[in-house]
């Protein structure tokens, strides 16, 4: 063993406790990272095998060739194919069987009257394909539907809704259909395709309720005869297919489905988690750096002695680095094990909380082992690099000097550099937000702002602690004075300790501010553009839910209390070659119930060839009233529309409005997403709402909400998101707290003699504990206040940049209650972090402390 290694090994043995905090920080960060990667891989593999199993019998899929994809959606909308194409397909040599697959939205109502699912994953309905090889679902119990009204439901959905074979319930297609469950099905061996619900009906029912025109199917599933490969089958099918219809292999189809889940759900899921493990590791960097910096400072005499005895700089530096490497490798390895444990735990936990997690062994790829290991080692070694270099630079003479108080933090150069960076950051951000809106510029400014906070930390910490600690003097007397002065002792150390918490709190506040702003935006949108009294909406967060019956608006309109009721449906078309969402409605009534801003032209008479466009889209395409534009629908047909109106606000009404009559020839399954209702003058709000609810009850019982309720429920997803974000950020904050506790423990160790002296001259244990605790709270307060400021600023940048970069107006909101809670949690956490070091300090033996070298 060479000298450096021997030195670091003995030092590690002697000071195991010092590295406990570092060790934990790396373990937590690496475990999070590993867990995320393993979970992601396992889920992906499970979905792969599930789709592979489900589509195993399908060798080719015949479908419409073109899809129209609107911005923000990953899967395009395809025109159906003629179901009678089955006959032509069956005549192709090598085809063993073919069946049309009709698919649409259909949401089941559970035994308790509440709809099943609809909070994200799709709620699907389709025909029950009688050829078991071609049907991705397998009958697990009961029988296939034979008569109209009979359905098979996937077992997961049935369990969730409390439905059993023989039960009768409602299926919203979105028109309510009374159905009887006659069988339960599985998908690829599981109780469902993740959280997707599926209802299989007879082919006649499916055609009746799920397609706009009889004789259409979404796809035709084809099975090959013996000896015919998938590719060969596709080649044979292609010649008999009409123009605009294509055949793909079963494998390609399964891969598309897997990709869809992967890109929509898994990639988002893993990216999200990776971002948060990145934040946790960033915070860990601060804690680790600090620990090594303190350890090196404490060892100045020892290192100086080594240098005086002839150790080279390189050897002293190497000794520290080897120590860091040893901690890094063991901690990363422990983190790997922990991460795999987390993944295994989640796999066991998910089914228990009702989230079907596909079974199967954990998939642990080389990447999910090597990446976290590398990241853990790099983070740990990188953080130790500067302290190690400093250890090497120790002058041999330092052994003879008393260790001086560290005042290096507050240097002029640092203040100048930091201020310069901050000014630059502000300038870049403001330009990016106000002058030439650019998310990239604003983002660069935000990162620069974060960096300048880190550089300025040691300069600011002295002032900040002095200001924040001012009340302590009066409140806690000399104990408070001591706590404050201790926190001021090493500005660099205080800043680095607080910096970790600052980043954690900054991200928490950023999300808090952004979430509140989004809510305020929704609220503003609804109150500004929704002029109706109540809204009927089928909650459709993501792709779930079946929407509202298009007949609901008409039925509500008949009520004596109601003045107008307008339903908004959704269509897609290519406008000048780009996929766009259309709002399909009664434009005249829309204008009465929604505030569309300034309207040029008139929405009253769009007819079948008129269209209304928002100002921003019109500007983009250079359209004014009277111009014409060409729309291509999913059925491949194009039509020329005349712009009859240009309106100002698009928030709820969408960018393009056409009439139901214009949409009818191209429609697929009809549904509305929203029915807006205005009452006649003098109608009591409660009475009106009750009347609408009564009608809604006959159409699958969607929710009827007042304007305020509607605004709030539109923002419902945000709270859910925030809760998740807070849970994930708890890890980063925990690591920051470990850092504070570790720094304090090391400081207590460093000040052993001083603490002994204080005890000797009459400081009680309680006073000593309070002193250490308040120091901890002060450091935490500095981090929390800095984080709140930074987070609020970054939140504003994000909101303002989004505002500038998109057409919709974003509102900025600072939620006082939530931010106060964040501040209090930060302070309480500081007190908590100080508990253990305080207890250790108060246990010091007075005599030994006074005598300690």
């Amino acid at each position: 063993m060479n000298a450096s290694v021997r030195l670091s090994a003995s030092s590690l043995r002697a000071h195991k406790r010092r590295f406990a905090g570092t060790f934990l920080a790396v373990v937590l960060g690496v475990a999070f990272l590993t867990g995320t990667l393993v979970m992601g891989d396992t889920l992906r593999a499970s979905f792969d095998s599930m789709f592979g199993n489900a589509a195993g019998g399908t060798d080719a899929v015949v479908r419409s060739a073109d899809a129209i994809t609107t911005p923000g959606e990953s899967q395009g909308v395809r025109q159906p194919v003629r179901a009678d194409l089955v006959r032509a397909v069956e005549r192709v040599p090598g085809v063993a069987a073919a069946a049309p697959s009709i698919q649409g939205a259909g949401q089941l109502v559970g035994a308790d009257g509440d709809p099943i699912g609809g909070q994200g994953p799709p709620t699907l309905a389709g025909n029950w394909i009688t050829d078991p090889e071609l049907n991705p679902y397998r009958l697990a119990e009961g029988r296939a539907p034979q008569r109209s009204g009979e359905v098979v439901v996937n077992r997961g959905a049935a369990e969730k809704g409390g439905l059993a074979i023989g039960d009768t319930t409602i299926l919203r297609t979105p028109d309510p259909v009374e159905v009887t469950v006659v069988g339960l099905a599985t998908f690829g061996g599981e109780d469902g395709m993740a959280q997707v619900t599926f209802t299989g009906m007879t082919r006649a029912d499916a055609e009746k309720y799920l397609t706009a025109r009889p004789g259409e199917a979404a796809t035709i599933q084809v099975r090959a005869g013996p000896g015919v490969g998938q590719r060969e089958l596709v080649d044979r099918l292609t010649p008999v297919l009409p123009e605009g219809v294509e055949a793909i292999t079963g494998q390609e189809s399964a891969a598309e489905n897997t990709d869809m889940i992967s890109s929509q759900f898994l990639t988002l899921f893993t990216t999200f988690l990776l971002v948060f493990s990145g934040i946790a590791l960033l915070v860990a960097t601060f804690s680790i750096h600090n620990t090594f910096a303190i350890v090196v400072a404490q060892r100045t005499r020892e290192n100086a002695l080594l240098r005086a005895l002839g150790a080279s700089r390189r050897q002293v530096t190497a000794a520290t680095l080897v120590e860091a490497a040893a901690v890094a490798v063991t901690a990363s390895a422990a983190g790997l094990a922990g991460g795999i444990g987390i993944a295994a735990g989640l796999q066991a936990l998910f089914p228990a909380i009702g989230f079907p997690f596909p079974e199967g062994a954990l998939v642990i790829s080389a990447l999910s082992l090597l990446l976290p290991l590398a990241v853990g080692v790099v983070v740990c070694l990188g953080s130790a690099l500067l302290p190690a270099a400093r250890a090497g630079r120790t002058a041999p003479l330092a052994a003879l000097r008393e260790t001086a108080v560290d005042t290096s933090g507050a240097s002029r150069a640092r203040a100048v550099t930091g201020t310069g960076m901050l000014v630059l950051a502000l300038a870049v951000t403001l330009v990016g937000v106000l002058l030439s809106p650019s998310v990239w510029l604003a983002g660069a400014g935000a990162v620069l702002a974060l960096a300048s906070f880190v550089v300025l930390g040691p300069v600011a910490s002295a002032t900040a602690v002095r200001v924040l600690g001012a009340p302590l003097d009066r409140l806690r007397g000399v104990t408070g004075v001591l706590a404050r002065r201790n926190a001021l002792r090493s500005p660099k150390r205080t800043a680095a300790t607080a910096g970790a918490l600052m980043i954690g709190v900054a991200v928490v506040s950023l999300f808090t501010v952004f979430g509140a702003s989004l809510k305020a935006t929704m609220d503003q949108t609804v109150s500004r553009s929704f002029a109706g009294d109540v809204a009927v909406s089928a909650p459709s967060f993501g792709a779930g839910g079946s929407g509202l019956s298009p007949r609901l608006a008409g039925a509500v309109r008949e009520l004596p209390e109601v003045d107008t009721a307008v339903g908004l449906g959704r269509g897609v078309a290519e406008v000048d070659g780009e996929g766009r969402a259309l709002t399909v409605t009664d434009p005249a009534a829309l204008n009465r119930t929604f505030d569309l801003g300034t309207v040029h032209g008139s929405l009253d008479d769009l007819g079948t060839d008129g269209i209304a466009v928002t100002g921003s889209e019109a500007d983009k395409r250079g359209l004014t009233t009277g111009d014409t534009t060409r729309l291509t629908f999913t059925d491949g047909r194009s039509a020329t529309f005349t712009v009859r109106a240009v309106y100002g606000q698009s928030e709820l009404a969408g960018d393009y409005v056409i009439t139901r009559a214009a949409w009818a020839p191209h429609r697929t399954q009809d549904s509305d997403t929203l029915v807006a209702v205005s009452f006649r003058n003098g109608v009591d709000a409660d009475a009106g709402k009750a009347a609408v609810e009564k009608i809604a009850g006959q159409y699958g019982n969607p929710e009827v909400q007042t304007r305020d309720e509607y605004a709030q429920s539109s923002a419902g997803g945000i709270d859910m998101m925030l809760t998740l974000v807070y849970a994930l950020l708890a890890l980063a904050v925990l690591i920051a707290l470990l850092g504070i506790a570790n720094t304090l423990t090391l400081a207590v160790h460093e000040r052993t003699r001083e603490l002994g002296l204080l005890r000797a001259v009459g400081q009680t244990r309680a006073q000593l504990r309070a002193m250490v605790r308040w120091e901890s709270v002060l450091v935490a307060a500095f981090g929390t206040v800095g984080g709140l400021g930074l987070g609020a600023f970054l939140g504003w940048v994000l909101v303002a940049a989004s505002d500038g970069a998109s057409d919709s107006a974003f509102a900025f909101a600072l939620p006082p209650v939530q931010l106060t809670v964040v501040a209090l949690v930060g302070l309480a956490a500081g007190a908590l972090a100080g508990l253990r070091p305080a207890r250790r300090a108060s246990r010091l033996d007075v005599l030994r402390a006074v005598a300690a070298e």
């Binding site: 000399v478 004075v481 002296l757 005599l847 006074v850």
Partner: protein, 249 residues
């Protein structure tokens, strides 16, 4: 040997025994010492290293506990006090001057002097503290930090701190051990002057005969036992007595 009882003792130990460790490795640092430190006097404890002089001081001051025997400050039996009360007693009735590292580096000179008072939440006697500052001669340094003072100045601050709370007794443990002879002389003169002028009690542990000569009385310890006392010591007399330890008779 019996204690002197003609003057009231500010601190005393009776039959003090202190054993460190146990079994074969047990060390009797104090082996039945009884001694009183009379009020208003400056007493020095001397003895060769390992004689138990520091242990005696620590036990008498309530920093350490006796294995058997009693230690009193005034009329208070220290063995009846728990850690909290001992701390309060040290704070209110005892002053300390250690060999080194006497001051809290983050506090100014003035804050260090009033530290025991501040810890107690007392204002103390401001005239007394004011007079002390003049006695130790540090008025122009009150707002400096300890790191800005010389070793001798630091020890003078420690002396002022020890007397600030008007304690029954001040214990000094080798207060000049780290100082050159001139600074050491200043500190010792200061201790002596303070005792004379204010009638306070000082007990000082030292191994330096010159330092001991500043005291009113010297008690000699050897092997954990009280072996002699000397009134009105001079450096030469003390040195002669000490030489007797080196060549056992």
């Amino acid at each position: 040997m019996t204690t002197t009882t003609d003057v009231r003792a500010a601190a005393r130990v009776v039959d003090a025994v202190k054993v460190y460790g146990g079994g074969d490795t047990a060390v009797r640092a104090l082996d039945g010492v009884s001694v009183g430190f009379p009020a208003g006097r400056f007493t020095a404890i001397m003895g060769p290293s390992g004689s138990g002089k520091s242990t005696l001081m620590h036990c008498a001051a309530g920093l350490d506990t006796l294995t058997s025997g009693t230690a009193r400050i005034g009329d208070t039996d220290l063995s009846t006090l728990d850690d909290r009360r001992l701390t309060l007693l040290r704070r209110d009735r005892v002053g300390f001057v250690f060999q080194a590292f006497n001051l809290v580096p983050t506090l100014t000179v003035a804050e260090n002097i009033t530290l025991p008072l501040d810890l107690a939440g007392r204002r103390g006697d401001t005239e007394w503290v004011d007079a002390l500052i003049d006695v130790v001669g540090l008025r122009d340094r009150l707002h400096h930090r300890p790191a800005e003072l010389s070793g001798g100045q630091q020890q003078r601050v420690a002396v002022a701190r020890a007397f600030a709370g008007q304690p029954d007794v001040v214990f000094a443990d080798e207060p000049t051990g780290n100082l050159d002879s001139r600074s050491g002389g200043e500190v010792l003169g200061l201790l002596r002057r303070t005792v004379r002028q204010t009638g306070r009690t000082v007990v000082m542990v030292t191994h330096d005969p010159v330092a001991a000569a500043h005291a009113d009385e010297v008690v000699f310890l050897a092997d954990g036992r009280l072996v002699d006392r000397m009134d009105a010591p001079t450096a030469d007399k003390v040195l002669d007595r000490m030489k007797a330890f080196e060549v056992p008779s």
